[in-house]
């Protein structure tokens, strides 16, 4: 177990992921490949190793995922477009300063067409709705500078209908509060500048109670800890300016203990197999906790903070001060 972040190992781990094309699992998970690229790229940026993945190659890969029939991006060439993969594509292109490559008009139309009468968004033409998709829509429109075309009222009113008595938000109206859905909802509200919809003291309390005695965070009451909540919970707390309400050193220790000290990468909890999803969210959490030597993460967009600031999209979130190495 290591008590420092093994940056070189993680960079190597992320770089190697692209070399696994002989593995069955690489192809079996193609339906979320573009999300994997986004997680890897974001983790690299936060660890100040953006150069570890070839920018041009990455951009070309993203463009190869374009689904011309739908006018948006799929997770892998020949896969159907979906709002999840579309946001990842936009995030990757934005990170590489290559948003000019995409047909913004068509993407914006794709996104806007997914909004339902209730204000929620579907993920694709088949109509599954989820506040995750609503966030994807809001974030994508914001990154593309097209928020003014969104029906804000309806969007916010759907978010408000998902709020529960415990301050949290669920997947759809009526659903139980879940830390991942709390993040998509508060982040969407932050982008829409409507945090007044949030009951901050109650939600801050609910989020603080996600920390378990071992330092890790769970996603719902009476559930197990998991490194991915380092992002869902912490980013929500950063947006509400409540990061001081948990024990940051205990959480830092927990995230570090979930690293794979030989192969690199971070797992859901100590001793488990590392994957790119938990690697990204573990690193994201450490950045918000002020871990030394990392770049700032913007908790609203889950992208490098400097980039979001440059794009003029920074909102009023607050991370813990960066500690000296």
């Amino acid at each position: 177990m290591s008590d420092t972040l093994l940056i070189d190992l993680h960079v190597q781990y992320i770089r190697n992921l692209g070399n696994n094309k002989d593995d069955l699992s690489y192809h079996m998970t193609a339906h979320r490949l573009i999300n994997g690229v986004y997680w890897g790229l974001t983790a690299l940026c936060i660890m100040k190793h953006k150069e570890a993945l070839d920018a041009q190659e990455t951009i070309e890969y993203v463009m190869s995922c374009w689904d011309d029939e739908a006018g948006a991006f799929g997770p892998h060439p020949r896969h159907d477009a979906h709002i999840l993969s579309t946001l990842s594509a936009i995030q990757i292109l934005a990170t590489h300063d290559a948003l000019a490559r995409l047909n913004a008009t068509r993407v914006v139309d794709f996104v806007l067409n997914l909004q339902q009468p209730s204000g929620v968004f579907a993920g694709d033409a088949f109509g599954e709705t989820d506040t995750r998709f609503l966030y994807c829509a809001v974030s994508a429109l914001s990154l593309l500078g097209a928020l003014d075309r969104l029906d804000r009222e309806r969007t916010v009113s759907y978010l408000a209908s998902c709020r529960n008595f415990d301050g949290g938000f669920g997947r759809v109206a009526g659903a139980e509060s879940h830390a991942a859905q709390v993040w998509v909802c508060t982040a969407a509200l932050a982008i829409l500048d409507r945090l007044d919809v949030v009951d901050v003291p109650t939600l801050g309390w609910w989020l603080a109670e996600r920390q378990l005695p071992n330092g890790g965070l769970n996603g719902r009451p009476e559930k197990l800890e998991d490194v991915c909540y380092s992002h869902w919970v912490l980013s929500s707390m950063a947006i509400l300016n409540k990061l001081t309400w948990i024990d940051s050193s205990a959480l830092t220790r927990f995230i570090l203990s979930a690293q794979d000290p030989e192969g690199g990468g971070i797992a859901d909890r100590p001793g488990d197999m590392a994957d790119i999803f938990h690697t990204c969210f573990g690193v994201a959490g450490l950045s918000l906790l002020g871990y030394p030597g990392l770049d700032d993460l913007d908790p609203v967009y889950c992208m490098p903070a400097s980039l979001i600031e440059r794009m003029g999209l920074k909102t009023g979130w607050k991370a813990l001060p960066r500690r000296e190495g």
Binding site: D22, D23, L24, H27, M28, T29, A30, H31, G74, R78, H79, D80, H82, D124, A125, F126, G127, E128, D130, N164, F165, D166, G170, R171, V172, G174, A175, E176, S177, H178, G204, W205, A208, E209, Q211, P213, R220, P221, E222, K223, D226, K242, T244, W245, I246, D247, A250, D260, E262, G263, A267, D268, R269, G271, D272, M273, A274, D275, H278
Partner: protein, 337 residues
């Protein structure tokens, strides 16, 4: 990779695994390539449909129910190719087959959104019965079976939030709606089986709100019963968050002074019995603050006493729950006489 234990793979082991997987990989790539090519060519044939069945569910070695593009394609084949030349009975049969198939796949992949989604699509595409009079029963059976499936899924994992969300969807969409009181009974059953199941308590908040709003259940009477139920959980296991959260929902904005005082006294009894209970202290502070804000006159002796009690409790909380110390400190600083 949730919950998969780490295993170190040596170079030899990896080479051996790739060797083993080579045949599977080429089968998988050939199958997916075939399907995606047919999809591009708008092949709506039964053959194409059967290939999607293989990939999503029945192939002996390379099924992948997470490949949502193939679910999408399957639905396109049904609506564009197969339904137009099928009778309503045949369509119903096809959809029933898909429901049976997804039920099997769900057992192995209970948290794959795409599978739940496909069931939903199937249910929503059950055609009207050709026999108009029979229409109700024809649809009803499908939806009731759906409720049974979702109960099975919740028996296997009573916290599966996809299953709970789907349950709410089914309850709201059934052609013949079930009484909400039956849903209260269901949550009681789940809570009695394990009262740490917050998902069941949450469901209760939603169903009861609706029953109160419709006037079907008297709020005052049922509130009394709900307090009794949740008190059992609080006293049995005061460290269990689920019960305290539900209790907080019952208290709500604390506009009923009598209830507020009664519950404060009861929690104080529990705290006396279990002096290290964080949730007792935390709830006492919250409820005393509601009392302060809503019911105690400014400047009164009662108010000063309550504030001092809150301060003491917050001080104790800083000691016994240091992880959240800062929050307690801030709450204490906000208390004004």
């Amino acid at each position: 990779m949730h919950g998969v234990r780490r295993a170190r793979e040596t170079r030899e082991v990896r080479t051996a695994r790739r060797e083993r997987e080579r045949a599977m990989l080429s089968t998988y790539l050939a199958l997916t390539d075939d399907i995606l090519s047919r999809k591009k060519n708008k092949d709506w044939s039964r053959d194409a449909f059967d290939l999607t069945t293989q990939l999503l569910s029945t192939h002996p070695s390379v099924t992948n129910p997470e490949f949502y593009t193939v679910w999408n394609y399957r639905r396109h084949i049904l609506t564009n190719g197969i339904f137009p030349r099928s009778s309503p009975e045949e369509i119903k049969e096809l959809l029933n087959d898909d429901l049976a198939m997804t039920a099997k796949v769900l057992k192995v992949h209970p948290k794959v959104y795409w599978i739940w989604n496909h069931r939903r699509w199937c249910l929503e595409h059950i055609p009207d019965s050709p026999d108009y009079a029979n229409n109700q029963a024809w649809r009803r059976s499908a939806w009731e079976r759906e409720l049974f499936i979702v109960e099975k899924m919740l028996d296997a994992d009573s916290r599966n939030f996809l299953a709970w969300d789907y349950r709410r969807y089914v309850l709201a969409s059934m052609p013949v709606r079930r009484s909400e009181k039956a849903e209260i009974a269901y949550t009681t059953k789940k809570i009695e089986a394990n009262f740490s199941n917050f998902s069941a308590w949450h469901q209760r908040t939603k169903v009861l709100s609706s029953l109160w709003a419709s006037g079907e259940v008297d709020r005052t009477l049922s509130l009394h019963k709900e307090f009794e139920l949740v008190q059992n959980a609080m006293f049995t296991l005061p460290e269990d968050q689920s019960a305290w959260l539900y209790h907080r929902w019952l208290i709500g904005s604390g506009d009923n002074k009598a209830i507020l005082e009664r519950e404060i006294n009861l929690i104080q009894t529990l705290l006396d019995e279990q002096p290290d209970s964080k949730w007792c202290m935390e709830s006492l502070v919250t409820y005393k603050r509601l009392l302060l804000d809503n019911h105690l006159p400014t400047g009164s002796q009662e108010k000063t006493t309550a504030i001092n009690q809150c301060r003491t409790l917050l001080g104790q909380l800083e000691e016994i729950d240091p992880m959240r110390r800062q929050r307690y400190w801030e709450m204490g600083a906000q208390l004004k006489v």
